[in-house]
Amino acid sequence: MPGTALSSHVPDPDLISYLAERNTSWFSRASPWTKAGVLVWLVVAVTVIPSLLVTGLLLSVVIALYASCGLPVRRLAGWCVMPVVFVVSLVILMIWSVPGAVLFSLPFPGGPVSLTTGGLSLLFLLVGKALVTVIYSLTFIMTTPMAELSAFVSRALPSPADQIFLLAYRFLFVTLATLAAMLTAIRARGGLVSGVVSQTRLMAEVFGLLFIRSFERSERVMKAMQSRGYRHDLIAATPVTWPGPGGIAVLAIACCALGAAVASGAAGGAGI
């Protein structure tokens, strides 16, 4: 079976699992609850802080955290491409005529539009904010063994969402490997045909086959599980450690700092 990496711009679940199981960094020993708490804190922080400087600082901290955990830094650049493209593709239409010094103007039927320093800063700000949570999220999932993550998710999600999540994770690797094998087979037979309809039809055949094969495989797994007593109560029994005093202290200090920054307007105020 080939690996499950279908693109260098999308994190490979096999690699994520491998790193999560093997990682022995200090961060891997932290409670998943603490890590999730920091994630929530970061989401709130990048939402309420309008400062490019603070965002840059947060980005530096999460990159340092990522690197200190011994995670693959070179691959991170590739994985950040998609989130950056997503943000740019949407925000590029909205950064025109933001107040600031004009960098250049473009003629437009409804009047000229200008790219200003403010518009450019806004673009950098939104990209920076995006990368903060993306890089932290990758650090989180690559330093938390799947047993712990599953147990954490099964406690956080109500039934049957937890059952679907746990089974989906179980089927994910097989599905990805099947898809990768089918795409390799297509390339080995001369690659993709030309023409939009032909290409669409070919990919639809691949995806249709993928659905049918995956379902048949998952049906076999399900029957095997039922024969062993599964009654839609898949339980992730791994104990999930609660945050220690250090974790609680970090979260408390972070929350107080964020609250104080927002209350005083020191987080950036009106300026970007």
């Binding site: 279908l6 693109s7 999308v10 994630l39 929530v40 989401v43 990048v46 939402t47 309420v48 965002t55 950040c80 998609m82 989130p83 593709s89 949407l90 925000v91 239409l93 909205m94 025109w96 806004l122 939104l126 904010k129 995006a130 903060v132 949570t133 993306v134 990758l138 989180f140 109500p158 049957p160 969402a161 059952q163 679907i164 999540f165 089974l167 989906a168 994770y169 089927f171 097989v174 599905t175 990805l176 898809l179 993709l192 939009v196 669409t200 039809r201 990919m203 639809a204 055949e205 995806f207 249709g208 993928l210 659905f211 049918i212 995956s214 379902f215 998952s218 039922q226 599964y230 839609h232």
Partner: protein, 215 residues
């Protein structure tokens, strides 16, 4: 599927809370109805789980059409699993996607709302069209286009109501910009409609038991 590709930090906190609260209510309704209808038997859970895994896998493939487009097959999820299980499936696909950087965690609420709309509309159109045509391909393709158009309208509504932090464009300017994105999305929707039509047609021929109302 339509997907608000903004990451964390783009929408104001009040909007995130509003969309999250709405999404949680919708999700709780889905879970309540799933439990009430006793559709939590292992077969349904299996279909939902494999739909989740396959949708997530397919999302990672760039179709070599128009320079490369991504599809997520939300309407297919709706057609195969129905709106209630489909709502749960899109939650998990969104969680997995956010974990690897495709859409922010804060945006899951907003994305969940528009995905549930897509799942529900596609499912209903697919079922209703059974009275008009026996072609599974046509029903699935039309259901996909209608579902994705509905999803796009919800996407525009969510962004216009929320506003993007730091953006000073007026309502008209924002709608203009978003309409351009929606137009591109609709081009992708046609591709997704063809793909979904072919997939459902193929599944209906190979495993009719998987497609409710296939015959």
């Amino acid at each position: 599927m339509a997907h608000i590709h903004l990451q964390d930090g783009a929408l104001p906190l009040s909007a995130l809370l509003l969309w999250w609260a709405t999404a949680v209510i919708l999700l709780l309704v889905c879970i309540w109805l799933v439990r009430r209808r006793r559709t939590t038997d292992p077969a349904v859970i299996t279909i939902a789980a494999f739909c989740t895994a396959a949708a997530f896998a397919v999302f990672q493939v760039s179709l070599p059409v128009f320079g490369g487009v991504h599809i997520n097959l939300t309407p297919l999820i709706g057609i195969l699993t129905g709106p209630f299980i489909g709502g749960i499936v899109v939650l998990i696909v969104n969680l997995l996607s956010a974990a690897i950087g495709h859409g922010g965690y804060g945006m899951i609420g907003a994305n969940l709302i528009l995905n549930i709309v897509e799942v529900t509309v596609s499912y209903l159109v697919f079922r209703v069209l059974a009275r008009l045509t026996s072609s599974v391909f046509t029903r699935a393709a039309v259901a996909t286009v209608v579902g994705l158009v509905a999803g796009n309208l919800v996407m525009i509504g969510i962004i216009v109501v929320s506003g993007v932090q730091g953006v000073t464009l007026g309502l008209a300017g924002m709608i203009q910009g978003l309409s351009l994105i929606a137009a591109v999305n609709l081009g992708v929707a046609v591709i997704e409609a063809l793909v979904t039509g072919f997939i459902v047609d193929r599944i209906a021929r190979a495993r009719p038991d998987l497609v409710r109302g296939a015959s």
